[in-house]
C-alpha cells in the first residue's frame, strides 16, 4: 500500500510518544492506525502488551486483519475489544471484590450478564404489570418493546455519560420545562428505570448499564484490576474515538498518561452513534492526555469531482445557501460529473426508482466491469420489503448482493416461526390461550418450510385436511384416493414421520427444556434427508439462533423465574414480540461479497470507502428525522448538555440539520467516483414526500443550461 509521509510518520513514531490523530473521514487515519499496529509487532513489541480499543465490533476489522496476518511474527495475541467487552471481562473476573455493590441477599452469587432480549423480557415481567396498574405512559402510543428499549437506553446513557441513574427523569424534565405531558412521561420513565435497576441489583443481574457502571465507577478504583489493565497494556491504539462514549474517554484520560505509547484516532464531523451516547466533543478532550496532535487533511479517497461535489453540498447546506452550492461554474460542472440521478421519466413511483437503481448497478458491473464490492446501495431506513425488492431486482440482473443491517427479528424468520409452531403442537400441556395456538396458516407455512420441496398448494391442502384443533392427524387416515394423489405419497410419508415423532414426544411426557426439544427435533427429523433443513443452511442458521436464544433465556431465567414453565413462557413471549426479537447472533455475518445494501448509518460505521454509492429515496424526510423516542433524548442526556438549558424547536432544527450535514459529508468522503441519487416522488406506501436532502441537491441540480446538460452526461472525472 502506498503510504503518505504523514502516515509513515505516525506509523513509525518512537515508543514513548502519545499521539492524538484527527482528520476527516477518508484521510487515511485508520490505515495509519493499522500500520502502527503492524509496526509495533514487527519491531518486537510484545503483542501481549497491546490493546486496540474500538467503539463497535465492525470497526475492528482492519486491526484484526493485521493481528491475524499469517506472516506476522510469533508471539502473544493483540487484544482488540470495545469498552463493553472490557467491562464484561473485568466484572466477570473481579466481581468478588465488589460484592458490596451487588445483591445484599445473594452477595456471593455469580452475576448474570443480561442479553438485550433478557432485558426486554425482564422489563416485560417486572415493569409491565406496574405500567398497567398505575397507568404509566398513558399519553404515549408506541409498542411495549420500544418503550422498554427506551427505558434501557436511558439507563445505558446514565452509565456511559456518567450521571446517576436516579436523575434521568429530572434531567429530561428540566430540559422540557413547562411541558406538563412530557413531565409525566419522564417521571414514569424514571420510576420504571429505578424499579428495573433495583430488581437487577437484588438478583445480581447485570445489564449493559450496570456492567459499565461497576467497571468504570468501582472496579477501576481497585488496584489489582486497574493494574491488570494498565500494567499489561502498555501500548494503546484507539480508533473512532468520536463514536465512543464519555465513559471510555474518562478511562483513557487516566490510562494514556501512564502508557508507553498511544495513538488515539478521532474522525472530525462524525459522531454518528450520538443516539447511543457517543460524544465527539468529549473525545477531543483526550488531546490533553497526549504529547502531540497531528491532523490529516488530505483525502485519500475522493476524486476531484467528488471533492467539488462535497464543497457544493457544504455550500448548499450553509446558512447562506446559494444556487449551485456557491461553486464557481467550472467547479459546479465538475461536481455535476460526480452525480447521477433518476431521470424524470422514472422518478414518479418508488418501484420505478428501484428499477432504475438496479439497471444502473447492473450496468456498472456488466458494462464498466466495476467489482460489485465497490458499490453500495444506501437507504435511510432499510426495511424488509425494501431490502427484498432490491435484492430480487439485482439478482434478476445477475448481480450478487449482501446486506449489512441490524438483522431482522428472529421471530419473523419463517424457519423460526415453523419451529415455534412445531413446539406448540408438541406441547398441548402448555394450554395456550387461543391467540397463541397455531392456526391453519401457521401449519401451512410450517409444512412448506419443513417438508423439502412442498409447494404452497399442497401445503394448504395438507393443513386443511390434516390439521385439527386436537393436533395433526395421520396421513394414513386419508382414505380419499384423489386427495392422497394430490398430496402425493412422498410428502404424505414424510409428514407421517414428522407427526409420529411429535406423537412419540407427547406420549413420553418428558419435561424437556424447549431448546433441547428443538435440538432433538432438528437433528432427528428436520435436518434429515427429505426435510426442509437438510439442504437449507440459512434455515439451519436461523434454527441455531432460535435455539441459542431459547437456551440463553432458560439459563438466565432459571433461579429468577419459578412461576412459569420456561418453554411455555418463551413461546408466549416470542408471540408477544418480546423474545427472539433483539437476539444478537454470536457470529457476525461474513462480507463483503457482492454489492452492499445497507442503511446509511450502518455503512458510515463500517469505516470503508467504495467507488459508487446509490442513495435511495433522497426525497424521504427519514434522511434527517430522528426516531420517535418520547421517553428519552440523546442531546439532553449527553455530557454536553448544560443544566438549566431548555430544549427548543430551534435546537431540534439545528441538530437535525447538523446531523444531516454530517451524514451527507461522511458518505461523500467515503465515495471515490460517483453518487447516484434515487428520486421518487411517492414513497413505498404511495405518499408524496419531500425532505431536506432533496432540497440540498436541488441547489446543485436545478437550472441546467443545454451546455451543462451535455457536460453532465459525460463520464465522471477519474482524477
Amino acid at each position: 500500500m502506498n503510504l503518505s509521509a504523514e502516515q509513515q510518520s505516525i506509523i513509525e513514531s518512537p515508543t514513548g510518544v502519545r499521539t492524538f490523530l484527527r482528520g476527516e473521514a477518508g484521510t487515511g487515519k485508520t490505515t495509519a492506525g493499522a500500520g502502527r499496529l503492524r509496526h509495533l509487532l514487527e519491531t518486537g513489541v510484545s503483542a501481549h502488551s497491546i490493546l486496540v480499543l474500538v467503539a463497535q465490533r465492525r470497526l475492528a476489522d482492519p486491526y484484526l486483519e493485521v493481528a491475524r496476518d499469517p506472516a506476522g511474527r510469533a508471539g502473544a495475541e493483540v487484544t482488540i475489544t470495545t469498552l463493553g467487552g472490557l467491562a464484561r471481562r473485568m466484572v466477570g473476573l473481579y466481581w468478588p471484590l465488589i460484592t458490596n455493590r451487588l445483591s445484599r441477599s445473594f452477595p456471593n452469587r455469580r452475576p448474570r450478564f443480561l442479553s438485550l432480549e433478557m432485558v426486554q423480557y425482564l422489563m416485560f415481567r417486572i415493569l409491565g404489570p406496574e405500567i398497567d396498574a398505575k397507568d404509566y405512559f398513558n399519553s404515549v402510543t408506541i409498542d411495549r418493546a420500544r418503550l422498554y428499549g427506551q427505558i434501557a437506553d436511558n439507563l445505558n446513557k446514565a452509565a456511559v455519560v456518567g450521571f446517576p441513574a436516579e436523575s434521568i427523569g429530572a434531567r429530561l424534565t428540566a430540559a422540557f420545562a413547562g411541558e406538563e405531558e412530557r413531565r409525566h412521561i419522564f417521571e414514569d420513565a424514571q420510576t420504571c428505570a429505578s424499579l428495573f435497576r433495583e430488581y437487577c441489583r437484588r438478583y445480581n443481574l447485570l445489564d449493559f448499564s450496570l456492567q459499565v457502571e461497576l467497571f468504570c465507577q468501582h472496579l477501576w478504583k481497585f488496584a489489582s484490576p486497574r493494574e491488570a489493565l494498565i500494567g499489561r497494556y502498555r501500548h494503546l491504539i484507539v480508533d473512532n474515538l468520536e463514536e465512543d462514549t464519555p465513559a471510555t474517554h474518562r478511562l483513557l484520560s487516566e490510562w494514556v498518561p501512564s502508557s508507553q505509547s498511544a495513538l488515539l484516532i478521532c474522525d472530525e464531523e462524525a459522531g454518528y452513534r450520538k443516539f447511543l451516547g457517543a460524544d465527539d466533543i468529549s473525545a477531543l478532550g483526550l488531546r490533553e492526555a497526549c504529547d502531540r496532535e497531528v491532523v490529516f487533511g488530505r483525502t485519500r479517497v475522493m476524486t476531484r469531482s467528488m471533492r467539488a461535489l462535497l464543497a457544493g453540498v457544504v455550500g448548499a447546506m450553509s446558512d447562506e445557501a446559494a444556487e449551485g452550492g456557491g461553486l464557481e461554474r467550472s467547479e459546479r460542472l465538475r461536481a455535476r460529473r460526480a452525480i447521477g440521478h433518476t431521470p424524470a421519466a422514472r422518478s414518479r413511483f418508488h418501484t420505478q426508482m428501484l428499477d432504475w437503481v438496479a439497471d444502473e448497478v447492473a450496468g456498472l458491473v456488466e458494462r464498466k466491469r466495476v467489482r460489485p464490492e465497490r458499490i453500495v446501495v444506501l437507504a435511510p431506513i432499510l426495511g424488509d420489503s425494501l431490502r427484498h425488492s432490491l435484492v430480487s431486482r439485482l439478482e434478476q440482473r445477475g448481480v450478487e448482493t449482501w446486506t449489512l443491517r441490524p438483522s431482522r427479528a428472529l421471530r419473523e424468520e419463517p424457519a423460526a416461526q415453523s419451529l415455534m409452531t412445531l413446539a406448540k403442537l408438541a406441547h398441548p400441556d402448555w394450554r395456550l390461550e387461543a391467540r397463541h395456538r397455531p392456526g391453519r396458516t401457521d401449519v401451512e407455512r410450517m409444512l412448506m418450510c419443513v417438508l423439502e420441496g412442498l409447494d404452497l398448494t399442497r401445503a394448504s391442502l395438507m393443513a386443511e385436511v390434516l390439521y385439527r384443533r386436537e393436533g395433526l392427524q395421520p396421513f394414513t387416515r386419508v382414505t380419499n384416493g384423489e386427495m392422497r394423489e394430490r398430496i402425493t405419497e412422498v410428502f404424505g410419508e414424510r409428514y407421517d414421520r414428522l407427526r409420529a415423532w411429535l406423537e412419540a414426544f407427547r406420549r413420553a411426557g418428558e419435561a424437556e427444556p424447549l431448546d433441547i426439544f428443538l435440538r432433538r427435533l432438528f437433528g432427528e427429523v428436520l435436518s434429515q434427508a427429505g426435510f426442509g433443513f437438510h439442504q437449507d443452511f440459512d434455515a439451519a442458521r436461523v434454527a441455531s439462533n432460535l435455539i441459542d436464544s431459547a437456551r440463553s433465556f432458560r439459563q438466565s431465567a432459571e433461579g429468577i423465574e419459578s412461576r412459569f414453565d420456561l418453554g411455555n413462557e418463551y413461546a408466549r413471549m416470542v408471540d408477544e414480540g418480546i423474545l427472539a426479537d433483539q437476539y444478537e447472533p454470536r457470529r457476525q455475518g461474513a462480507g463483503p461479497r457482492g454489492v452492499l445494501i445497507a442503511p446509511a448509518y450502518t455503512f458510515l460505521l463500517s469505516n470503508r470507502a467504495v467507488d459508487y454509492q446509490f442513495w435511495l429515496n433522497i426525497d424521504s424526510p427519514s434522511w434527517n428525522r430522528r426516531l420517535y423516542q418520547p421517553l428519552t433524548q440523546p442531546y439532553v442526556l449527553s455530557a454536553q448538555w448544560r443544566a438549566g438549558d431548555v430544549w427548543t424547536e430551534a435546537h431540534e432544527r439545528e441538530s437535525s440539520r447538523e446531523m444531516l450535514a454530517r451524514v451527507v459529508a461522511g458518505l461523500l468522503r467515503r465515495c471515490r467516483r460517483k453518487v447516484y441519487l434515487g428520486l421518487s416522488r411517492y414513497d413505498e406506501r404511495g405518499y408524496e414526500q419531500i425532505g431536506e436532502l432533496r432540497v440540498i441537491f436541488d441547489y446543485l441540480l436545478r437550472d441546467l443550461s443545454p451546455e451543462e446538460r451535455k457536460v453532465e452526461a459525460s463520464p465522471e472525472a477519474e482524477s
Binding site: T43, H48, R73, A74, T81, Q260, I516, S527, A540
Partner: protein
C-alpha cells in the same frame, strides 16, 4: 471450498480435521451452524460443561489475584468445591508464583497462523515454562493423550512464540525489539513441560519436550496444514462410531439419534473419539 488466507488454526480445528476432514470443513470452512444434539443426555452434558467452565473461570480469577477466600465463598456446588480445594493443594506444591492465565500465543507455520490458548503457563525458577491444562472430564490413558493435537500444538507454539515469557518480560515494562531478543533468550524446547491436571482424580499426566519432539511436531503440523490448504474435498471419517456424537450426522446421513453420554465418556477416555464438549471458546472478541 478453499481456506481463507487469514484462517487461524487451533488444536481443536486440527483435531477435528484428523478425526474427520468433513467435520473440519463443515465447522471451520463453511461455518455451518447445525444445532443437533451430540448426546441424548443433553441436560447432563450441559451441566458437565457448565461445571467445567465455572472451574476454569475460578482458576482464572485466582490467577488474576482475586483472593482465594473470596472465590471459595462463591462456589455453590460440592463437586466444584472438591475440585477447587484439590487444585489449590496441588498448586501449592507444584506451581511457582509467576503464572500467566488464559494466555493466547500464535506462530506462523506453513504459510498460515497457528494459535494456542493456554489455561496457564507458569515460569519456573530456572526460566523453564510449564504448561498447565485443567481437565474436568475423565482421565484418559497417557498414550492416547500423547497423540492428541493439544499435546502436539501447545508445546510447539510455546517454543515458537513464548521466548519473551522465558526471558522474564511478563511485566511488559520494556519494549522488546528484535535485536534485544538474543538467541540464548529464546526458549529451548527442553525448558518446556506440559501437565494435564485432572480435577476428578486430582492426578496429572505430564509430558516433557525436546528439540526432536519439536521438529517432529513442526513436520507433522506443517504437513496437515499444507494438506488442508491444498484440498478441495473433505471426506467424512471412516470410523462411523464417532458420528453418533457429531452434530453433523444428519447432514452426512449417518444416523438419526445422538449417542449416549456415558458411552461418550468411556470413548473419550479409552478411544480416539474426541468432541468439543469440554472445550472453551478459542477466540473471544
Amino acid at each position: 471450498m478453499s481456506l481463507p488466507a487469514d484462517f487461524l488454526f487451533s488444536q481443536s480445528a486440527l483435531q477435528d480435521y484428523v478425526d474427520c476432514p468433513r467435520r473440519f470443513e463443515l465447522r471451520y470452512l463453511r461455518e455451518l451452524e447445525w444445532p443437533a444434539l451430540e448426546t441424548r443426555q443433553a441436560r447432563e452434558q450441559e451441566e458437565q460443561a457448565r461445571q467445567g467452565r465455572d472451574f476454569h473461570h475460578l482458576l482464572h480469577q485466582q490467577a488474576m489475584g482475586v483472593p482465594v477466600e473470596a472465590l471459595e465463598a462463591t462456589i455453590d456446588d460440592e463437586t466444584t468445591l472438591r475440585w477447587w480445594r484439590s487444585c489449590l493443594g496441588w498448586q501449592e506444591h507444584h506451581l511457582p508464583a509467576t503464572r500467566h492465565a488464559e494466555l493466547v500465543l500464535s506462530t506462523p507455520l506453513a504459510g498460515r497462523r497457528l494459535m494456542a490458548r493456554y489455561d496457564l503457563v507458569a515460569r519456573m525458577e530456572d526460566g523453564g515454562l510449564l504448561i498447565v491444562d485443567w481437565k474436568t472430564g475423565r482421565m484418559p490413558r497417557a498414550a492416547l493423550l500423547a497423540g492428541r493435537m493439544q499435546t502436539i500444538v501447545y508445546p510447539y507454539v510455546l517454543a515458537s512464540a513464548g521466548g519473551w515469557l522465558s526471558a522474564g518480560r511478563l511485566d511488559n515494562t520494556k519494549t522488546i525489539s528484535p535485536e534485544m531478543i538474543r538467541p540464548d533468550e529464546m526458549i529451548r524446547p527442553e525448558m518446556i513441560r506440559m501437565i494435564y491436571w485432572f480435577a476428578e482424580e486430582g492426578r496429572t499426566i505430564e509430558f516433557g519436550y525436546d528439540e526432536e519432539r519439536r521438529r517432529q511436531a513442526e513436520e507433522r503440523l506443517a504437513t496437515i496444514i499444507g494438506e488442508i490448504g491444498a484440498r478441495s474435498e473433505f471426506a467424512p471419517t471412516t470410523d462411523e462410531r464417532a458420528c453418533r456424537f457429531c452434530r453433523y450426522r444428519s447432514f452426512c446421513e449417518r444416523g438419526v439419534e445422538a449417542g449416549d453420554l456415558s458411552e461418550l465418556n468411556e470413548a473419550k477416555a479409552d478411544e480416539s473419539i474426541t468432541l468439543d464438549l469440554d472445550e472453551l471458546e478459542e477466540i473471544a472478541f
